[in-house]
């Protein structure tokens, strides 16, 4: 346990039993998040990002592995966790449409965490107004219902609700993927400003790599339930190592000429992400990998550290 790490995940696994077989949604991932930083988790849809967040938060009980929060192990699902822990960890969901109860006013929604945790007793109303202002919404919103406000505004309300318990860690599951570009920018900026003000730590999940360079301090690339590469965000864009990372980066739209030069050669994305029920043997990425070698379909590579803080899981670097 390194000083200053708020969340440590070790060999986390979450399998689902379904009619089609066992889904290995998260299959042995390890990473850590430092206090006050944003750890980005990137991957195609279905790679297990949401499941990772839900398992950390306790919505699902892990199948295996360990999670430490502020040095203490988290045991079991959300129902077994103490209230103080729930106060300290919050989450913002992917779909703002379903994350607010349509039958409750914004005030009721934001005041719920205050009441549950007995915060600002008697001054809940004032605090709710403060929280709305913090996320940049007008206080008149308090008496509206979710259906009367837009998608981006709903997401801001969801953020205000997460902030209400005064957490030190927030998991953000694709907080902007359902929104249009201008709203995306507004929400990201709000999140970053609040992070600075309150010294929050984020687990920021997205399938949009280009978002990451502005948001995250470190990034992990996830594929079929496994982490393939973890690196500081800056290094990521300059020196990607894993073929999958290169593939993702090569499809990112860029703004300047300079960036275009940095970009890896265009690699055509091959094939679809396989089903997590039927995981390919060896390296899970090998059927789509442009640099696939013989060993790749036989043996699973191990995660190795190439440079301090930059790890990769690929046979190219395993020799």
């Amino acid at each position: 346990m390194v000083e200053g790490e708020i969340l440590v995940v070790e060999d986390l696994r979450k399998y689902f039993k379904t009619a089609q077989g066992v889904v290995r949604a998260v299959d042995g991932i390890s990473f850590s998040i430092k206090e006050g930083e944003t750890f980005g988790l990137v991957g195609e849809s279905g790679s297990g990002k949401s499941t990772t967040a839900f398992t950390i938060m306790g919505v699902y009980e892990p199948t295996g592995g360990r999670i430490f929060f502020k040095g203490k192990p988290l045991i079991g699902g959300v129902k077994k966790r103490p209230l103080s822990l729930k106060k300290d960890m919050q989450m913002v969901f992917q779909d703002p449409g379903s994350s607010l109860n349509p039958r409750k006013s914004i005030r009721e929604i934001i005041e719920l965490p205050l009441k549950v945790h007995k915060l600002y007793r008697g001054k809940e109303r004032k605090r709710a107004e403060e929280l709305l202002r913090m996320v940049g919404l007008p206080v008149e919103f308090l008496d509206r219902y979710p259906r009367a406000i837009g998608g981006g505004e709903k997401q801001l309300v969801a953020i205000a609700r997460a902030l209400a318990t005064e957490p030190s860690f927030i998991a953000l599951d694709e907080p902007t993927s359902a929104l249009d570009v201008s709203m995306q920018a507004k929400i990201i900026n709000t999140l970053l400003r609040i992070q600075e003000e309150l010294n929050l730590s984020y687990l920021f999940i997205t399938h949009n790599l280009s978002l990451m360079r502005n948001v995250a301090s470190r990034v992990g690339i996830m594929y079929l339930g496994k982490l393939l590469e973890v690196a500081p965000a800056s290094e990521f864009f300059h020196k990607p190592l894993h073929p999958y990372t290169k593939m993702l980066l090569s499809s990112v739209p860029v703004i300047t000429e300079e960036e275009e030069k940095l970009k890896p050669k265009k690699i055509v994305s091959r094939g679809e992400i396989p089903s997590p029920v039927n995981v390919p043997p060896g390296c899970t990425f090998h059927p789509r990998c442009p640099e696939c070698m013989e060993v790749c379909s036989k043996k699973e590579p191990v995660m190795i550290e190439i440079e301090p803080g930059h790890t990769v899981k690929c046979h190219l670097f395993n020799s």
Binding site: G58, V78, K79, K86, M89, F93, S98, L112, H117, A158
Partner: protein
């Protein structure tokens, strides 16, 4: 008390107006609404508007016995000389009261059980509650109601208990399926992550989102409950003479068929209209809410 208009926001008033407009375009719904309002009015005010209020109970006037329909007695009189129209109005009272009481017992209890089972989806609580529900649903309701009534003393109260006992599973199943899907919504998970207690989540987060289908089923069920209740009183297992429940009026009258046909036919028609009215109204409300949900 504030007037209803001021209680509602601009937005709500607007949607109310829109709904009413949609509802009123279907003539069948309007027929249903008018029927239900008329019957409810007669049921509530029967002691004051019935032409012969004394016909309610043990009243005998042989000079008026078994008269066919006339201006004085539009639906005729029975063998004791009681006015059938008056008795039908009182009959509405008993039948509606019965339906309201039954639903008042069945809807909260069934909904509660379904809600709990749905919230604890996949646990032993779910298994126990839903197994019991399935067992109740596996036997045709009328037969079960008859059997339960038969084992108790026949009375209006006992027939109500019997119908309640076999009606709750429908609500527990409805609430169960609604809850099972709503509990996966993010707002429920958010409440769980905040640490709200299970009762709060069930009753304040999930339940309000189940209410409109439950309400629709309730309006549709009034007709069914009256149907089954009147069948029970028809076979003599429900309300007893001289109580003017519509079912036993039909039963008593049918002994004097065909000569005194009015003793049977008018109460029978009254039952038919009551149930029809509630079914039409319920369908109208269902169509309305089905569109609203989308």
């Amino acid at each position: 008390m504030k007037s209803i208009g001021s209680l509602l926001s601009e937005d709500q008033r607007e949607s109310l107006k829109r709904n009413w407009h949609k509802f009123s375009t279907n003539p069948l719904s309007i027929v249903g609404l008018i029927t239900v309002l008329t019957i409810t009015f007669m049921a509530i005010f029967s002691p004051w508007i019935a032409p012969y209020p004394q016909s309610w109970g043990r009243w005998i006037d042989f000079s008026q016995a078994s008269l066919p329909p006339s201006w004085k007695h539009p639906c005729g009189t029975d063998i004791y000389g009681r006015d059938i129209l008056s008795r039908i109005m009182f009959g509405f009272r008993y039948d509606l009261l019965m339906a309201v009481c039954i639903l008042a017992m069945v809807v909260p209890s069934g909904t509660f059980l379904g809600l709990v089972a749905g919230y604890y989806h996949g646990t032993w609580i779910d298994t126990v509650i839903m197994r019991i529900t399935d067992i109740f649903l596996a036997i045709p309701s009328l037969v079960l109601a008859l059997a339960i009534c038969a084992l108790l003393e026949p009375s209006l109260f006992n027939s109500m208990m019997a119908v309640s006992l076999l009606w709750w599973p429908w609500y527990s199943r409805l609430a169960y399926s609604l809850t099972s899907s709503i509990r996966n919504e993010y707002f429920v998970q958010a409440a769980e992550l905040i640490g709200a207690n299970p009762l709060y989540i069930m009753f304040r987060e999930i339940l309000p989102n189940c209410l409109s289908p439950i309400f629709t089923k309730m309006t549709l069920d009034v007709g069914w409950v009256i149907l089954i209740g009147s069948t029970l009183s028809f076979v003599g297992l429900g309300a007893q003479e001289p109580m003017p429940a519509l079912g036993n009026m039909v039963a008593v009258g049918s002994k004097y068929m065909p000569d005194y046909w009015w003793m049977t036919i008018f109460p029978a028609l009254a039952i038919a209209f009551t149930i029809l009215g509630f079914n039409l109204l319920g369908d109208g409300i269902r169509d309305l809410l089905a569109v609203e949900e989308i």
